[in-house]
Each structure stands twice: as structure tokens, then as C-alpha cells.
């Protein structure tokens, strides 16, 4: 433990976390890309603890930092922070950017710490349960996620569902993953790999926001959004304590979803947001700038990173793309993941756990620096910030693949996003349809191939049945309850 606190470990650790803040807060640069960039650097460091500390520190910090532009500019820095654009940005618009950011930072730390503790205690059991998921269960996991996103989104559920379907349709562009056939590419080689998720997301959230601001002369003349960045920590602790059960639920859910191979922190964040809205007394205020809407996704996202380590360590199956890169790095350090890891590399595993836990504390320092740096930029007049946002949208969408086509896609979806929002259509379900669409289709088709075209396993397997029930309840319960309570209210009056 003391070895980990030596300056020779702490300094590169903090530097990597600072790098994580920059990457996470820059739209278009993902945490996975940052880890991929830093892994070769760690190979030149003889002490494996330093390398592991840098990788782990960076991954947790980058996921949190994605919330900074999501709150301030409504551009999610990372896919996991897309859910933060809902209540986080609404709070910023109401002059509570400081509270939203500090709350996000604090809950990221707590969610991450909770996820790591669960990882330490329950890793083998959780990983075994996660392995019971086959194509049938993954199909329903995707469908439940999509259904929940439509139900919890601001506005009518019907529009949310249509946005989901539209998003899923967009996800079918490109090479079909099962048969290898090109779909809707119209002869374009750029479209073969499909519509990039990052350019679409940047366009929908970033450019559409700029258009809306430019269109509204009064909004453009407003002062910056950071007038209360000096929110006291006491207020942050008070709000967190008030919603401690939301934090706990979201952290557990985030860890569990993160432990499902291929699911990752972004799905965990949306699932936690949905559950928090469903179970909150203030469910109707979600999407309008409520603190619970910040606590739930942010704690689940970081808990999901810890969760992704469960199958990675115990079975050598990465929970997400980020962990897949880290698994390669572990092999370089001669740490062989698998069921025997706790016997063969017990000391290294203990070090990984301790590094992940200490990272949560260091995240406060790195995160505050990031918030302060970003706050300085936002002190500029809004019209200046909006033009800067356009430049970052262009560069961010270009940077991922060095492709001008991605920039065009970003611009087109900026206009589409603006139009859809004017029509009262929530954008979050569209994004989730784009993310989960391939997962749903692939698991449906592979499942049908496995069962010889028989749909029964999709309905009769226990976990599938539970998820189907959950979906039906989440879709039908709100209108039924509204009807019931509405009728009661009429009787009273």
C-alpha cells in the first residue's frame, strides 16, 4: 500500500489522470483511445504498479471528465456521459453548473469506489452470473434498455419509441455484421463502416445546441453559465446524502451492467437514469434539471468501469473495449487473467484493487482541476463559446478517423437534431438506438440461427422472461397509473 503512495508512482499516476481529464473533456476523443495511447508509454516503465496506476487512473478520470462538456455545453465528452446532457445541462442553464459538476465528480468517486469494493468482494460470483447471459438474454437486455430510454425521456413515450426505431435504423447503415452484406451504403466506401457514433452524437447534441442558441437572440446575449461555480462542498454532501439510495442503486446497477461483456458504462449510465426516474418521488422532474438525474448516471458510469473488470479478471473476457486494451497490457506485465488469477497473481490483483480504490480519491484532485480549467473557458461571452463549440465539433468528429465524411455526418445530424428537438422529439433514445441497435440485431439473428429459427428460447429462458416482464411493466405501468390516479383525482374534485 505504501509503495503505491511513493512519489515515483504518484507523479506519473496524477499526470496520467490529468491527461484523462483533457481526453474525456474533449468531444471526439474517447477514454479507449486515451488508454490505447498511454499503454505503449507504460511499457517503458519498469515498475508494473506505475503502469497499472496510470492506466486505471486515466480510465476512471476520462469517464468522469466526459461530464464536464456534457453539463456546460451539452456535448458529451464520452459516450458514457451522454445521459449527463439531460439534467446536468438543464442545471447549468438554471445557473447551477457548479453544483452539477461537483456532484458529478463526487458521485463518480463514490460510484467508482463502490464498484471497486464490489469487484473485490463479489468478483467471482458476479462473473459467473454474467456468463449465464447468451444471445437470447443480450437481445432482451438491449430491448429493455431501448424501451426504458423511450419511457424515461422527456416528452411523449410514443415519440421516444419512434426516436429509438429511427436510431436503430441508422445503426443498420454499413456492412451487416452477420452476413457481411453492405446496407444503405449507396456505393460509398465511407459508409461501409456505418455511421460513426461519435460524429452523430456530437452533431445531435453539439451543433443543434449552437443552432438553437444562435436562433434565439436573447439566449445569445446572456452571460456565461458559470455564475455559481463556487458551490460549497457542504451542499454537495447534503444533496448526495439526501439521495444516498439513488447513489447506491445506481452504483450496484452500474457495476452489474458493466460486468456484462459488451455492455459497458454507457448502457449502465442510461439504465441507472431510467431506474432512478422510475423509483423517484420526483420522477416527473427528470430531464428538467434535477440533482438525482446527475447522481444516477454519473455514479453508474464509473461503477461500470469497475464492473467491466470482473469478467476481465476472472474469465479473461473484457467487459468493454477499454478493458480489452488493458487485458493486453496485463499480459505484458505477465499477469494472466482467468479463474486462477487470485492464486497465481494474488499480489498483483491486490495492487490492482488498491490502485483502483486510491484512484477514486485522486479523482477529486484531477477532477477539480479539470472543472476549473473548463470553467475559465466558459467565462467568455456565450456567442464566442458557441463559435468555439462549432470548431471543436468539427475537429472532434474529424479526429476519430481523420475523415471529412465524419464531419459531414456531424453537420447533417446537427440539423436533424435541431429539427427533431423543435418537434419535441427526445434525442437520447435516438442515440441509444444507434448504440444498442447492432447488439440487438446481432443477438436476435445469431440466437435464431442457434435455435434453428425457433423463437421459444427468447421467451422461456428465466432471465429472458424476467426482462420481458420488466419491459412490459415499464411500458404499461405509467399510462395505467396515470389513468388510475387521474380518475381518482377527478372523483375527488
Amino acid at each position: 500500500m505504501l509503495d503505491l503512495l511513493h512519489p515515483s508512482v504518484l507523479i506519473p499516476w496524477l499526470l496520467a489522470m490529468a491527461f484523462g481529464v483533457f481526453v474525456g473533456a474533449t468531444p471526439g476523443l474517447t477514454a479507449t483511445m486515451a488508454v490505447a495511447l498511454i499503454v505503449p508509454v507504460t511499457f517503458y516503465i519498469p515498475n508494473p504498479d506505475v503502469g497499472l496506476a496510470m492506466i486505471l487512473g486515466l480510465s476512471f478520470t476520462a469517464i468522469f471528465a466526459g461530464a464536464i462538456p456534457a453539463v456546460c455545453l451539452r456535448i458529451p465528452g464520452t459516450p458514457a456521459s451522454a445521459a449527463m446532457t439531460l439534467d446536468g445541462h438543464e442545471m447549468a442553464k438554471q445557473g447551477q453548473a457548479g453544483l452539477a459538476l461537483r456532484l458529478s465528480l463526487f458521485c463518480s468517486c463514490l460510484g467508482g469506489a463502490f464498484g471497486v469494493l464490489l469487484l473485490m468482494v463479489m468478483a467471482p460470483q458476479l462473473a459467473r452470473f454474467a456468463l449465464r447471459f447468451s444471445n437470447y438474454e443480450y437481445f432482451w437486455l438491449g430491448i429493455v434498455g431501448l424501451g426504458m430510454s423511450a419511457v424515461v425521456s422527456v416528452g411523449r413515450t410514443a415519440k421516444g419509441l419512434l426516436a429509438v426505431v429511427f436510431g436503430m435504423l441508422l445503426a443498420t447503415v454499413g456492412i451487416d455484421i452477420v452476413s457481411g452484406t453492405p446496407r444503405f451504403t449507396y456505393g460509398s466506401t465511407e459508409l461501409m463502416s456505418g455511421l460513426g457514433f461519435i460524429p452523430v452524437m456530437i452533431g445531435l447534441f453539439g451543433v443543434s445546441e449552437v443552432i438553437r442558441n444562435v436562433l434565439d437572440a436573447r439566449a445569445l446575449e446572456k452571460a456565461d453559465m458559470t455564475r455559481d461555480t463556487r458551490t460549497s462542498w457542504l451542499e454537495v454532501f447534503r444533496v448526495t446524502w439526501k439521495h444516498r439510495y439513488t447513489l447506491l442503486k445506481s452504483s450496484i446497477l452500474g457495476t452489474f451492467v458493466g460486468a456484462l461483456p459488451g455492455a459497458g458504462g454507457d448502457i449502465g449510465a442510461w439504465a441507472a437514469y431510467g431506474v432512478a426516474q422510475r423509483t423517484s418521488k420526483d420522477g416527473a422532474r427528470f430531464g428538467k434539471g434535477i440533482t438525482e438525474g446527475v447522481i444516477a448516471p454519473t455514479s453508474a458510469a464509473n461503477a461500470g468501469i469497475a464492473g467491466a473488470w470482473i469478467p476481465a479478471l476472472v474469465f479473461g473476457i473484457p467487459g468493454d473495449s477499454l478493458t480489452a486494451i488493458v487485458l493486453g497490457a496485463l499480459l505484458m506485465y505477465d499477469i494472466k487473467t482467468g479463474p486462477l488469477i487470485f492464486e497465481q497473481s494474488a499480489q498483483q490483483v491486490q495492487h490492482i484493487f488498491m490502485i483502483a480504490l486510491i484512484t477514486q480519491g485522486l479523482l477529486i484532485i484531477a477532477g477539480l482541476l479539470g472543472i476549473r480549467a473548463f470553467g475559465f473557458i466558459l467565462k467568455l461571452p456565450r456567442k464566442v463559446v458557441m463559435i468555439a463549440v462549432v470548431v471543436f465539433c468539427v475537429v472532434g468528429s474529424f479526429a476519430l478517423n481523420n475523415s471529412i465524411s465524419d464531419v459531414w455526418i456531424m453537420a447533417v445530424f446537427g440539423v436533424i437534431g435541431f429539427f427533431l428537438e423543435r418537434q419535441g422529439v427526445p434525442l437520447a433514445p435516438l442515440i441509444l438506438g444507434l448504440i444498442l441497435g447492432p447488439m440487438v440485431e446481432e443477438n436476435l439473428r445469431v440466437g435464431l440461427i442457434k435455435s434453428g429459427g425457433d423463437w421459444t428460447p427468447f421467451l422461456t429462458r428465466p432471465i429472458c422472461a424476467v426482462m420481458l416482464l420488466l419491459l412490459v411493466l415499464s411500458l404499461l405501468a405509467p399510462p395505467l397509473l396515470k389513468k388510475f390516479f387521474g380518475a381518482n383525482a377527478k372523483n375527488v374534485t
Binding site: K159, V165, V391, I404, L420
Partner: protein, 169 residues
């Protein structure tokens, strides 16, 4: 012309858009090459897009019908003066149009003129249009290009478009 649609037309336009997307998808599905592997039970690459397109058409039509019937019921509301959602001085349609045109020119110019010049031209012209003080305009534009260069080119090793001039910065 007002930029904001009345609450009743919201959704109807979305319905039309969604139906159009569904119809175009259905017409394009035929171009997807379907491969057969004997007794393969895979529904194929056309199946999901067709189902999704069907859902979009039905959902879009439902949106149009719902909004149409609602509109007929609330004609009185429609006749009221402008709601508070529209700014008193009207939406900046002109500025928004210029922004979109400038964005299109900016993206089209990127591969030819390069990142530095096209970005400077975009930021300087747009901030001038939005009446930002010229000193701030120039300082911010230069800082922005510099910051992007340091962050993306020097730190993240991203190759930004150099353009035909091949400027090193």
C-alpha cells in the same frame, strides 16, 4: 415568418419526416443483396430494416392523425397571439442561416485550404457577424486555432487537414 411552430404542428411535421424515412428505407431495402446459406435460419440483412421501416411508417402516420385531430379541436388556441416561446424580437433566422452556410463552406474548404486558414476564416467571420468586439474576436480566433493545434496535433498526434498550402501549423 416565425421560426417556432405552434404546439399543434409540433409532431405533425415529425410524423411526415418519419413516414418519409420509412418509405425511402422500404424502397432501398430491395438493393440489399440477400445471401442464402442452405438451411440457414438467419432472417437476413433485409429483415430488421424492413420491420423498422414499417414501424416508422405506422408510427409517423399515427403522429400525423393524432396531431390533425388535435389541431381541429384547438383552433381557438391557434388563433391566439404569439406565445411566450417566441422571443419578442423574433428568432434570428438570418444568423442561423448564415451559420449553417458558413459551416458548409468551412467543412468543404477544410481539405483544400487546410485547418488553420479555414478555421480562422470561419471564426473571424462568424464572430464579426455576431457582433463580438474585434479585439476579442481576433484573440479568441488565434487562441482557438493554437489550442486545437497543441491539443490535437502535438499531444494526440492527430493529422489535421493541411490543405493545398500544406501549412505546418
Amino acid at each position: 415568418m416565425k421560426g417556432d411552430e405552434s404546439p399543434d404542428s409540433r409532431g405533425a411535421l415529425f410524423g411526415v419526416f418519419i413516414v418519409a424515412v420509412g418509405v425511402v428505407t422500404l424502397l432501398s431495402v430491395g438493393s440489399i443483396h440477400e445471401m442464402s446459406f442452405g438451411s440457414n435460419t438467419d432472417p437476413g440483412p433485409r429483415a430488421l430494416p424492413m420491420v423498422l421501416a414499417g414501424c416508422l411508417i405506422l408510427g409517423g402516420l399515427a403522429e400525423i392523425v393524432v396531431k390533425w385531430t388535435k389541431r381541429r379541436r384547438v383552433t381557438a388556441v391557434e388563433a391566439r397571439p404569439e406565445t411566450a416561446t417566441v422571443p419578442a424580437d423574433g428568432p434570428n433566422l438570418w444568423d442561423a442561416g448564415i451559420l449553417l452556410a458558413a459551416l458548409i463552406i468551412y467543412i468543404a474548404a477544410l481539405p483544400w485550404v487546410g485547418f488553420t486558414l479555414s478555421t480562422l476564416a470561419f471564426t473571424l467571420s462568424m464572430m464579426w457577424r455576431l457582433q463580438v468586439r474585434w479585439v476579442l474576436n481576433v484573440v479568441v480566433s488565434l487562441c482557438l486555432v493554437g489550442a486545437v493545434h497543441v491539443l490535437f496535433v502535438m499531444v494526440f498526434r492527430v493529422q489535421l487537414p493541411p490543405g493545398v498550402l500544406g501549412l505546418p501549423f
